[in-house]
Structure formats: structure tokens, C-alpha cells
């Protein structure tokens, strides 16, 4: 068990090193971390709760108050503080994405390892499932699934529905990636030798295959997480989130449905979008840097020569 933990930390440490070396990656990490910190420390950063209504002198809700009247980000259509919603929204958006991502990666890893390692009919069958899933357009499918689930009186939070549906649909990239890596690793000799001395399948997977695929999972996680955030925000925008626990997408749903746009309340519809781009871009930069480390890109190509090629001293530029 201790050994397995050390594989994990090995991959993560390598990732950490790569990030620190690359400026863009560092920037990406900063973006993600600030969002995390803001979300975690939300209660410390605002006096209100997301559902609190700010009232003016006459006791009416202070609707659509601009930032210069009520800072730092004004109020929404009902008089709730936007800044508060924003940082508490971070909790929802990030948590939903993390959980959905966890489900997706778990399924994907399981499918990928099984298909790659067991091979044969299991592989063919699983790959067919993957192919079919990839072809079906994801947004319509999700909408249809969510609509059905909601009708089923399951007494679960709408967020749980979102998490499950997203997790169920976005594991394919992970599965394919891991499967091809497992296939490569399987060829290597030490796996055969290990089997020869009677090691069980699970043991082989744990000790030999997992360490090889761990770095790939790390890179893929970043991609899956950023996709999950985008998808969640989209679904929430369409009204499928939990209004009592608004994520950034839900905030945008409110803004859109409740005339923030026509009222020119940019402080309500800009910040949540910016927040989404902030976090997703952060993840994308992180993912870029990690991927560079795994597949270091070509240092050049054949059409880069030309002007600077001949630099013989004492001669004019050829």
C-alpha cells in the first residue's frame, strides 16, 4: 500500500516540477488555486449568505444595485449580494465538477484497464460501448436523461443528478487513453515474467501497469475536470442546477431569465462567466504544460531554416 502511494506522489511530484518550470503552467496553477481558495474561504470573505436579501432604507429589496452602490459586485434581481453568490458559487461549481470528474475518471480507468489488459471479447465489447457513446450527441442526451431522472421522484438534489449524468457520459477519453497505454505496457517483458511466477492479474495491474499509466491519468484528469466545469455551467444555465445552491452557471441562468441583461446589470452576468473562464483556462494551461512533459513536442520542423542559416563572418547575409 505504501508503495502505491509512492507511485501516486511520484507522478504528482513530477507534475509539480513541470509546472513550476513553465511560466504558463504556473499561471494556470495560480488561476485554479485562487478559485479554490476563494471558495473554501468564502465565509471569511463576505458577511452575507448567498440567499440573504440586502434591503434599502425602506425595507425593499435592493435590486440591481451597481457595484458603486453596494460593493464589491452589486446585487441581483432580488437584492442578493453578487460577490457572495460568486464565491459561494465557486464551491458548487468546483465540487460538482470534481465529483463528476471523479466518477468519469473512475469509470474510464476501469474500462480502459479492463479492455487493455483482459483484451479479447471484453475489449471489443467495451470499445463498442465507447464508440456508441462517442457518437451520440452529448448535450441532447444529457438533457433527455436529466429530464427523465427528474421526473422520477428520486428525492435527490438536482446537483446529484448533474454529477451522475456528467460522470456517466464523459469517461470515454480516459478509457481510450488508458487502454492504449495499457496495451503498450502489456507488451513489456516484466509483465510476462511477473505472470510467469504466478502473480495474479490484479497484482500485476497494481504493481506494474498502474505506475505507468498514473502520469497519463493526471493529465487526463485536468482535461476531464475542465470539461466538467464547462458542462455543468451549461446545464445549470439551462436551469437544471439547484436554485438554492447556485453555481456560476445557475447565476447566469438567473441573470438571463430575470432580465439582468435588459437591465444592464453587467455586474451580475459578467463575473460568473469570467470566473468560469478563469478556472477552465487555468486547468487548460496546467493540462498543456503537463502534456508537454509527457509528450515533449518536436523541437522543430524542416521549414524553419532560411535567413539565419548561413552566418559566416565577413560575408554579407546570404
Amino acid at each position: 500500500m505504501g508503495e502505491r502511494r509512492s507511485r501516486w506522489s511520484g507522478a504528482l511530484r513530477g507534475a509539480g516540477r513541470a509546472i513550476r518550470r513553465n511560466k504558463l503552467g504556473l499561471f494556470g496553477a495560480v488561476l485554479v488555486l485562487t478559485a479554490l481558495v476563494l471558495g473554501v474561504c468564502a465565509p471569511l470573505l463576505t458577511a452575507y449568505a448567498p440567499t440573504d436579501i440586502i434591503r434599502d432604507a425602506d425595507g425593499h429589496g435592493l435590486t440591481f444595485a451597481p457595484p458603486w452602490e453596494h460593493g464589491p459586485l452589486g446585487t441581483d434581481d432580488a437584492g442578493r449580494d453578487v460577490w457572495t453568490q460568486l464565491i459561494y458559487g465557486a464551491r458548487i461549481s468546483l465540487t460538482v465538477a470534481a465529483l463528476a470528474g471523479f466518477i468519469a475518471i473512475s469509470i474510464g480507468s476501469l474500462v480502459g484497464i479492463t479492455a487493455g489488459y483482459v483484451g479479447g471479447r471484453a475489449d471489443a465489447g467495451l470499445m463498442r460501448v465507447t464508440d456508441v457513446l462517442l457518437v451520440i450527441p452529448d448535450l441532447p442526451l444529457m438533457l433527455v436523461l436529466i429530464a427523465t431522472l427528474r421526473q422520477m421522484d428520486l428525492r435527490v438534489s438536482p446537483l446529484a443528478v448533474l454529477i451522475v449524468v456528467i460522470g456517466l457520459l464523459y469517461w470515454t477519453s480516459t478509457a481510450r487513453l488508458i487502454r492504449s497505454q495499457v496495451l503498450t505496457v502489456k507488451e513489456r517483458q516484466f509483465v510476462d515474467r511477473s505472470r510467469a511466477i504466478g502473480a495474479g492479474r490484479i497484482h500485476v495491474v497494481r504493481r506494474h501497469i498502474l505506475p505507468q499509466i498514473m502520469p497519463l491519468i493526471v493529465v487526463n484528469t485536468v482535461l476531464v475536470l475542465s470539461t466538467a466545469i464547462l458542462v455543468e455551467s451549461g446545464l445549470a444555465f439551462l436551469g437544471l442546477g439547484d436554485p438554492t445552491q447556485p453555481s456560476w452557471g445557475t447565476m447566469l441562468n438567473f441573470a438571463f431569465d430575470r432580465s439582468a441583461i435588459t437591465n444592464g446589470a453587467w455586474w451580475f452576468y459578467l463575473p460568473p462567466g469570467i470566473a468560469i473562464v478563469w478556472v477552465v483556462l487555468g486547468f487548460a494551461l496546467l493540462g498543456n504544460v503537463l502534456e508537454e512533459r509527457l509528450n515533449p513536442r518536436l523541437t522543430g520542423h524542416h521549414l524553419e531554416g532560411g535567413k539565419g542559416m548561413v552566418a559566416v563572418p565577413g560575408r554579407s547575409e546570404a
Partner: protein, 339 residues
């Protein structure tokens, strides 16, 4: 020296800027001549700079490469002084390259005939119809059935692709052909066919060939002159007979030590005679020693070898008329005026 050389490389120095900013000197002071109709072998381990020499002469270095010194005289014109546009007109029409056909050197989505024809049409040598006829002639010359002219590279065998590359290289009737490892990855039978082809076209068209290879056997068979390279520098250069029978550079001597009599090349083992392995590794081109580059692996080193890099010294048998040079401190001082 009765006729002027076709190609005269003098003091060619090439550098590469690595990803971390360091500069690697891939070629240092490389000099050699190629006479018309001559076959010159450029031999050495991988990384010794033979392919870089070829690319430098053709000015086809990748983006991080720079020619920082020397001259490349082709029929009297220094190619390094030309503009890129002028250089383009010399490519293929004067000097052509046969790359390893077994690899990806042919465009996979273009028909073979079209690729050959492209070279002809590019240099405005003839109209389309005539060009097509010439393509057919070339294919016939290299022994590729005309029915297969419109196929794609992946449909050819490795040997056929190599021959197609040769046909393409001849398209504009160049005076000089560079052949970069033309038979690596081909089996011995096919290798022999390819070299037969080289000999035939040389006899027929009188072109000069520079054979870049690590295969000593091939060089023994085909080359008039041998240039032995090590660590980006010329270690020894001279007529094949001289170099093979009286190698002067310790590196050459080690190489040939495990090599049987060149005249018995017909008995060569499978896969040709690769360079004998010498203990040690080639020098790192971004951290070159001040002295002789072969010194760490040399059994005959003296103190001088770590202090200064040896210059080429004339080691020809006096009165033979041939030019045989080697760069080793053990061979005495260079005469004034030597290249």
C-alpha cells in the same frame, strides 16, 4: 591535381542551438574535395556529422542550425554566398540527394510518378508531356515497372522505394549525387542491387557520388576516396586503397582492425560490415574538449592530445601523387599551406 574539383568544401563549420540554449558544434573545419565522376565515401559513427555535412552543403539545415564558417565551392561558385532563391535553382539540378527510401522520404499521398515529375517541372526543364516521358525513362532506368508509376509509396517495397528515390534524384541530371545511408534497413540482396544501380548510373552519366554511410564494406566496394569523420571533424581523408591499407589515424586503425580484406567483400556477413565497436562514447558536441576529440578513446594518446586539436597532416606516400591526410599529433607537424 589535373582537373578542378566539382565540389570543394573548405573549413566548413556548423553549429546547432539546442533547446536549452547551449550551442553544439556539429561540424568543425571540415574540408574535402569531390572530383567529377568520383565516388567519395563519408564514413563515421552516427552523430559524427556526416549527414550534417550533406545538409550544410545543400543548405537544408533545420531551424536551429547555422553554418558559421567555411566555404562550399561548387564549380567555382561558393554556395554559401548565394541567396536562398539562387540556392534553390542549384538544388537538384546540380546536386541531388538520395535519402533513405525505406523511411518517410516520399510523400505518402502523392503518386510516385507525380513526385518525380514535380522535380522536372519545377526547374522548367521541359513541358508536361516530355516530363512524363522522362519519368518513364527514369523508372525504366532504375528497374521499376512502368505499370506501377501511378502507385503510392506504401505500395512499393523498401528496395523499390529506394530505387524510386534514385530515379527522382536523377530527374534533373545533376552533376553530384549525395546518397544518405541508401541501404540501411534493406537486406543484403537488395543492397547489392542498389549499389549495382549506382555503379551503372555513374558509368552512364558520369556523375560524382558522395556516399554517406557507416558501412565500411560498401565504401570499400564503391568509393575512390574515403573521408573518415569523428566528432564533427575530418579524422582522415584519402584514396580508398591508401586509407584501407595504410590507415594513419588511430580511429581509422581501430575501425579497420576488425574489418577483413576489402577485396574479399563478397564474403561479407549478413547486414554488411558495421563499424567495429570501440569502447567509450563519442564526444558531446555541446561540451567539446580543447584537445583531440578522439583522445578519450584512443590507445595511443600522448600529452599533446589533450592540449590542442590536431590539424590535418599530409601522410601520402611520397611520389604517389595522391592526397592522403590525417589529423593526429603522432604524425608530425602540418606543412605550411596545407588545407
Amino acid at each position: 591535381m589535373t582537373e578542378p574539383p566539382l565540389l570543394s568544401v573548405r573549413h566548413l563549420t556548423t553549429e546547432f542551438t539546442l533547446a536549452d540554449g547551449q550551442v553544439a558544434r556539429a561540424l568543425e573545419d571540415v574540408s574535402f574535395d569531390v572530383l567529377p565522376g568520383q565516388t567519395v565515401g563519408l564514413v563515421g559513427e552516427s552523430g559524427c556529422g556526416k549527414t550534417t555535412t550533406l545538409l550544410s552543403v545543400m543548405r537544408l539545415l533545420p531551424g536551429n542550425g547555422r553554418i558559421s564558417g567555411g566555404s562550399v565551392l561548387f564549380k567555382g561558385t561558393d554556395l554559401l554566398t548565394l541567396s536562398e532563391r539562387e540556392m534553390r535553382s542549384h538544388r537538384w539540378t546540380d546536386i541531388a540527394v538520395v535519402f533513405q527510401g525505406a523511411m518517410n522520404a516520399l510523400n505518402p499521398v502523392m503518386k510516385i510518378a507525380d513526385q518525380i515529375r514535380e522535380a522536372i517541372l519545377l526547374h522548367d526543364l521541359m513541358d508536361r508531356k516530355a516530363a512524363d516521358r522522362r519519368v518513364d525513362d527514369l523508372l525504366e532506368l532504375v528497374g521499376i515497372p512502368r505499370a506501377r508509376r501511378n502507385q503510392y509509396p506504401h505500395q512499393y517495397s523498401g528496395g523499390m522505394r529506394q530505387r524510386a528515390m534514385i530515379a527522382m534524384a536523377l530527374a534533373c541530371s545533376p552533376d553530384l549525387l549525395f546518397a544518405d545511408e541508401p541501404t540501411t534497413a534493406l537486406d543484403v540482396m537488395i543492397q547489392a542491387q542498389v549499389f549495382e544501380l549506382f555503379k551503372r548510373i555513374q558509368a552512364e552519366f558520369g556523375l560524382a557520388i558522395v556516399l554517406v554511410t557507416h558501412d565500411l564494406g560498401v565504401v570499400a566496394e564503391m568509393c575512390d576516396v574515403v573521408v573518415v569523420m569523428y566528432g564533427g571533424m575530418v579524422a582522415e581523408v584519402g584514396p580508398a586503397d591508401s586509407v584501407y591499407n595504410e590507415p594513419q589515424h588511430p580511429y581509422t586503425q581501430r575501425l579497420l582492425a576488425a574489418f577483413p580484406d576489402p577485396s574479399q567483400s563478397a564474403d561479407l556477413p549478413e547486414g554488411g560490415q558495421d563499424l567495429a565497436t570501440i569502447p567509450g562514447t563519442p564526444p558531446r558536441l555541446n561540451a567539446l574538449p580543447p584537445g583531440c576529440r578522439f583522445e578519450p578513446r584512443c590507445e595511443r594518446r600522448i600529452d599533446r592530445c589533450t592540449e590542442a586539436s590536431p590539424a590535418l597532416v599530409d601522410v601520402a606516400v611520397p611520389g604517389s601523387g595522391a592526397r592522403h591526410l590525417a589529423a593526429c599529433h603522432l604524425l608530425g607537424e602540418p606543412e605550411a599551406g596545407d588545407a
